[in-house]
């Protein structure tokens, strides 16, 4: 079963996302509260997909993304971002993010994006 690592500095958001993923039968192997934790957990857990909030303390989502992609160019990183910030998303996509989820997120949309990346084509 594919494994997922959630990254967000808000516990509320992590729980929200985790519930959506668990309900759909995904396996959430780790939760990181900032970019640094996310990179560390990525190295330890080798998840199939990482969700990455952009605005976070210690290490931002964009920097964490770059570090993860440097470690593993094939990494599936999906950015989580507030609506109306296309510039930030674009920067992330150009840096190797595979897709993005906008907050507030809807269950169906989240699962569609995750499945698109995790299901073998």
């Amino acid at each position: 079963m594919p494994t997922i690592l959630i990254t967000d500095d808000s516990r509320f958001m992590r729980d929200n996302l985790k519930n959506i993923l668990l309900e759909a039968g995904h396996k959430v192997v780790g939760e990181a509260a900032n970019g640094k934790e996310s990179v560390e957990l990525y190295q330890k857990l080798h998840p199939d997909l990482v969700t990455m909030d952009i605005t976070m303390p210690v290490l931002s989502g964009l920097d964490a993304l770059k570090q993860i992609v440097a470690l593993d160019p094939k990494a599936n990183v999906v950015m989580v971002t507030a609506i109306g910030k296309p510039e930030k998303v674009l920067e992330a996509l150009n840096a190797g993010a595979k897709n993005y989820i906008t907050k507030p997120f809807e269950k169906e949309k989240v699962l569609e994006i995750i499945d698109e990346l995790l299901l073998p084509v």
């Binding site: 808000s10 958001m13 605005t55 296309p86 674009l90 996509l93 507030p104």
Partner: protein, 652 residues
């Protein structure tokens, strides 16, 4: 407002059935604002030709050559609505809306004393009606359905246009004509991000300049901020250089769906067009200024409904988030600015917190508050970009401009208006009047699309559900009261296990029948106090209920007493007495089979008919009710130690 439709009637251009298609074509081109024309036969209306219908007809293969030289009688719609000028608005609305979906926007011809007076445009009718307060919501709903249908039509129409555009190597005059009259702008850009020569006239109207040969960025510059425009350009470049379709899709989804151009709201739809190895991006532009105005009201109502639903379902989250926000907004911000030595660091920390609140509030549907925070976040972003030109006093000012009360006012009002002033009292549960919930359900049904309703309604319906535990606990008083009358002593009922929520109305006949079980326990099962003492049991009898939720759609509960159990010897005797089975048959019966006898009509092992337990109808009634709703019941007994009833039920 006048009650007849007379005030809505407008003069309408008429043609004779013998006139040729080209005459209508010329008229539409010369009068771009005209929605349609009426075709008369001996001065009586015989049909109509609406603009969109006309262009659909001639858009078909050979359509133009087929219809342009032939009489209008061949192409007009003959199934038309003709009404008298005295017809009232309500009846008009009913008849006009009752037409086939594809006809709903057609003119209605209006007669006066046997002569054609003119036509009523459905668009005008809707505008007029939406001015009338009492019909407002109802009409918006119908309008929404029509907009949906119109959009659907528009989509099919666009797909058709696009297909023709691709298929035809040489664009004929009629296609150009079609594009120019579709009321929408079409343009394509090439890999240099320059608008090609293939664009429709509407584009010129929208942008106010000739668009062919211009860089797309220069056309958009007035409506898009610099950063966003750079991002758009970057996206276009990426789409042209990237072959992966999923990547293309992800990038294109970042493009804005609406841009204000020359003070009009223009909807932008983007499509990648491939012909051979060449790739172009097509823009489909629609002026939605009018539509937006009508939809805005409805959108607001929908947002409020969503908040009301969230407020009930996630009360703890809402209350906790607001408390945290208040502490941050009224205190932490100022402390951080005063205490943290590094101004930039303080700013960054405040920015992140505001950003997080913004997201969390939006997730909880508190959009007003979230939007206001978005504005503050923008101010903070500017300060972060140039910290040297800001003081901490200025940053504190961002938060003083709007008080906390003003910040949350709109969302809090939506909650208290819908759910009552008591909502924010410190209490884990919300009591909502059943009628309020029904009203919310009705509003969701009338305002939201079927898909959205299907997602929202189950949550709201659950508010009407009851915890099955509470239903069982209601029997406590009855059980103790019955036991007392029979001079027995009993403890309160114990209810354990899962919280199972059910639509109580649907289970009512069954749950009512459970009286029989509790009465049986008090009367038959629990021994008198002296007997219990002799047996070494607690002098007070006990009843324990247990609930287990079973996925996906079932639940099980049991009612267990610590009474005398069912006496198999008495069951056999009773069955004999009643002549149900022979002694030989009964000797063969397993304990389980004997227990099934207890559930038969008129089977009671108590020797006397008492006022309390009646004639042994009890258990069979429970069995009948549970079977009625697709459930099953079983009995398990241990002589001397007690009896357990197990009920297996579907979620209804």
């Amino acid at each position: 407002m006048d009650n007849s439709i007379a005030s809505l009637v407008e003069p309408v251009k008429t043609f004779d059935v013998g006139d040729i298609g080209k005459s209508v074509n010329d008229y539409f081109i010369a009068n771009p604002g005209t929605e349609g024309v009426v075709i008369c036969d001996k001065e009586q209306p015989a049909g109509i030709v609406m603009r969109s219908y006309y262009y659909q007809k001639i858009g078909q293969q050979y359509g133009y050559s087929l219809y342009s030289g032939r009489p209008l009688a061949l192409m007009m719609k003959t199934d038309i609505l003709i009404l008298d000028a005295a017809c009232d608005l309500a009846r008009f609305g009913h008849l006009a809306m009752d037409r086939q979906p594809e006809d709903v926007y057609d003119f209605v011809a209006v007669m006066d004393n046997g002569r054609l007076l003119g036509a009523v445009s459905i668009r005008n009718f809707l505008v007029e009606m939406s001015n009338a307060k009492e019909h407002e919501i109802e009409l918006l709903r119908e309008h929404n359905v029509m907009i949906e249908q119109a959009r659907q039509k528009e989509k099919e129409y666009l797909a058709e246009v696009e297909r023709m555009n691709r298929d035809l190597a040489v664009r004929s005059d009629s296609i150009k004509n079609l594009l120019d009259n579709a009321g929408q702008g079409f343009l394509t850009i090439n890999d240099k991000l320059i608008v090609t020569d293939e664009f429709s006239n509407e584009c010129v109207r929208i942008f106010g300049v000739q668009v062919g040969g211009r860089p797309i960025a220069s056309l958009l510059a007035s409506g898009v901020e610099k950063d966003a425009l750079e991002a758009m350009t970057d996206i276009f470049r990426n789409v042209f250089s990237e072959e992966n379709k999923l990547r293309n899709k992800v990038y294109m989804s970042l493009l804005p769906g609406e841009i204000r151009i020359n003070n009009r709201a223009i909807q932008f739809v983007y499509k990648i067009i491939r012909s051979g190895t060449e790739k172009q991006i097509m823009f489909i532009l629609t002026d939605i200024t009018q539509r937006k105005h009508l939809e805005q009201k409805m959108e607001e109502e929908k947002t409020n409904m969503r908040l009301a639903v969230k407020a009930v379902m996630n009360k703890n989250d809402i209350v906790a988030t607001l408390q945290e926000l208040e502490a941050f907004y009224t205190k932490t911000v100022f402390d951080t600015l005063a205490v943290t030595a590094d101004f930039k660091q303080a700013l960054a920390s405040i920015f992140r917190t505001v950003h997080t609140f913004k997201g969390n509030l939006a997730q909880l549907s508190m959009t007003h508050t979230s939007n206001t925070l978005h504005g503050i976040e923008n101010d903070l972003q500017r300060a972060l970009d140039a910290p040297a030109s800001y003081t901490s006093e200025q940053v504190a000012g961002f938060f003083r401009r709007i008080s906390y009360a003003q910040l949350v006012e709109d969302d809090v009002r939506v909650i208290t208006d819908t759910l009552g002033q008591d909502y924010f009292r410190q209490d884990e549960t919300v009591a909502v009047d059943k009628h309020n919930i029904l009203a919310i359900e009705e509003k969701i049904r009338s305002l939201c699309s079927p898909e959205l309703s299907a997602r929202l309604l189950p949550s709201v319906k659950k508010l009407r559900y009851q915890n099955f535990k509470n239903i069982l606990m209601k029997y406590n008083e009855y059980l103790l009261f019955t036991a007392e009358k029979l001079e027995k002593e009993m403890n309160d009922i114990t209810v354990l296990g899962d919280d199972v929520f059910i639509d109580a109305d649907k289970y009512r006949p069954f749950t009512k029948s459970l009286t029989n079980i509790f009465r049986n326990i008090a009367d038959h099962a629990i021994e008198p106090p002296d007997e219990r003492i002799d047996k070494g049991k607690n002098v007070k009898g006990s009843v324990t209920c247990k609930l287990v939720e079973q996925e996906p759609n079932n639940f099980v509960f049991s009612i267990q007493d610590d009474g005398r159990g069912i006496d198999f010897a008495r069951v056999r005797e009773k069955a004999l007495e009643k002549g149900l089975y022979s002694p030989e048959e009964l000797a063969q019966f397993s304990p389980q089979k004997l227990l099934e006898l207890v559930l038969l009509d008129n089977f009671s092992t108590k020797d006397s008919v008492t006022a309390i337990s009646g004639r042994g109808m009890g258990l069979s009634a429970v069995k009948a009710e549970i079977e009625q709703i697709g459930g099953k019941m079983e009995i398990d007994t241990e002589p001397g130690a007690g009896t357990k009833f197990v009920f297996r039920l579907p979620q209804l």
